[in-house]
């Protein structure tokens, strides 16, 4: 039996290549900004929702009716408003790309470094600053935070803090400033990342 041909998911492949093109044409910072703004534009399409209490919010995550689960699947609440996401929503794209081309496009490390730099966007959306492990975090994290900005619990505004993330190779990234700001112990984030790919916490204003 001849080996079956590898199939490209063109949407995923082109997205990864697009990031590379954006970096080449406009520079890493502009590419980062472009991805973040793309995520924010997506979040604006999400309908605003209010949950009567935190339990209802968690229940909506468990049964995948929470807007956040729409973009990343079901996260696990590990206590004190801290959540762990078992799988990175971009993992299939990475797998598909590397399966076909062997490795990710050049420059992704540079992009990730740029994403982790403090700036207006990281501050406003409480993302990056060490919690980025790939360019996809520049889409995922602001998207989740911006969706969180459209959620209230008992009338109080939800604020999502990205605390850490783990790459496919197992390397953990921690947003130490945000961990401190959220009042979470770094060891807790570390422990969550042992069993999950992404760690964030939910606070109420």
């Amino acid at each position: 039996m001849p080996e079956e041909g590898k199939i490209l998911d063109i949407a995923r492949i082109s997205f990864l290549n697009m990031i590379k093109e954006m970096m080449t044409l406009g520079g890493v910072a502009a590419a980062k900004g472009g991805l973040i703004r793309n995520a924010l534009a997506c979040a604006e399409k999400i309908k605003e929702v209010d949950y009567p209490d935190f339990d209802a919010f968690i229940e909506a995550i468990r049964n995948a009716t929470n807007p956040i689960t729409m973009i990343e699947g079901k996260a696990e609440h590990t206590g004190d408003g801290i959540f762990g996401l078992p799988a990175c929503p971009f993992a299939p794209a990475i797998s598909n790309y590397t399966e076909v081309f062997g490795s990710l496009p050049d420059g992704f490390a540079e992009f990730t470094e740029e994403f982790n730099k403090p700036g207006p966007a990281t501050s406003r959306y409480r993302i990056g600053e060490g919690a980025g492990v790939s360019p996809f975090c520049a889409v995922h994290q602001p998207l989740r935070s911006a969706i969180g900005d459209r959620i209230t619990i008992g009338g109080k505004q939800v604020r999502i803090y990205q605390l850490g993330c783990k790459s496919g190779a197992g390397k953990k990234g921690f947003a130490d400033r945000l961990i401190e700001e959220a009042g979470v112990d770094r060891s807790v984030v570390d422990a969550v990342l042992d069993n999950h790919m992404c760690c964030y916490c939910v606070k109420l204003e």
Binding site: T24, L25, G26, G27, A29, A30, A31, K32, G33, G34, I36, R37, E114, K117, P118, G119, P120, A121, S123, R124
Partner: protein, 412 residues
Amino acid sequence: MTDMPEVGESMSVKKKKILVVDDEEDMIWTLRNCLNHEALNADILTASSGEEALGIMEDTPVNLVLTDIRMSGMSGLDLMLEIRERWPSTSVIVMTAFPSPEYKSEVMRLGGLHYIEKPFDIVELRQVVSEAVNDDRSFAGTVVGVSLSDIVQVNCLSQATAALEVTASDRSGTIYFEKGRIVHAESGGETGVEAFYRIMELDGGKISSKKVAKPPEKSIDLPCEALIIEAARRRDESGSGQDEGFNIEALDAEDPFPALSRADDGGDEQNAEDSGGGEAPPSGKTTAQEDEMDGNLRDILGEFTTIPGVNTACLVGRDGFLLDSIATVNVDTEMIGAIASSGFGASESMGRQLGKGNMAMTMIEYEQGPVIFSPVGDEAFLVIVADRDSNLGMIRLKIKKHAQEIMESAAI
């Protein structure tokens, strides 16, 4: 080879030639852009010193010279006098950085001698230049109607070495300047300070400035400001007419264009101290420090929008997110930041591809006016949106003046 026509002769059918003289590169840049206008239909020549200007004029007939007063080397006033002697048919417009309102351009064009106050309105300047360049009357060199105090100030501030002859119906006198200091005066049989005050009491008359290598003697050793103030006081006491619009206090109070008027006296350092732009703040800024920096940043951005024609000033992170912005018109500054980031990033990428290094201050011209981009440090850039006929040189000067402060304010 065709001979160049003499100025004032057959050049009326040819393009006029305007020579801009200023040792500020930005001002030359501004004036060249401003005057390179179809309505003027003139060739714009430039020189960065009086000496260079004379060299150009020896080879090329020039209709109009637009010169700054304060320049290293030959002053604008000396240049004007030299031109008057050697090319009497060439008009001269002198630019000053005096903040006093009496230097408004509509009263500058008196007797063929023009003063343009910096900062100037581009449209007005173009109008004055247009009138001057299309006026073939020769430059008389005698000023009628401009206050004597103004002329004395011009000589002082321009570091002039000259003799100012003042002739009224009943009296005359001469004030001698050496490198901007009033060193001698003669009037009737008097000399020294009293002669100076007597001359300054004159109302109206004719003023003629002559270039002198050296004053005949030195009989005055007081600062110009003190002499002018005392002269004004005496005029007040004697009840004689005041120099209309002359305001010594205004000179001390506020300088709307310090980058220019303090160019020779360490003004930049002073400005940096005044605005807290000296040492870079430590990386771990306190909230109070951040608030102060934010305040400074808003003040600086606000300064840009006080330039006539500038309607928007944005400080944008390289990723396109706004650090701060001020707009006097209804624009989506967030979107401007995002789009500008793409454009700026693309331009930088092109520069890298071409081996041209980092991007410098640049401008994109649209039908309705320019947009100026300027990197500030590695993390941000300024976007200044202006209307047509904005004072681009002033924008550039302000960017240069505040670059360090903006960079520090932009540091997260």
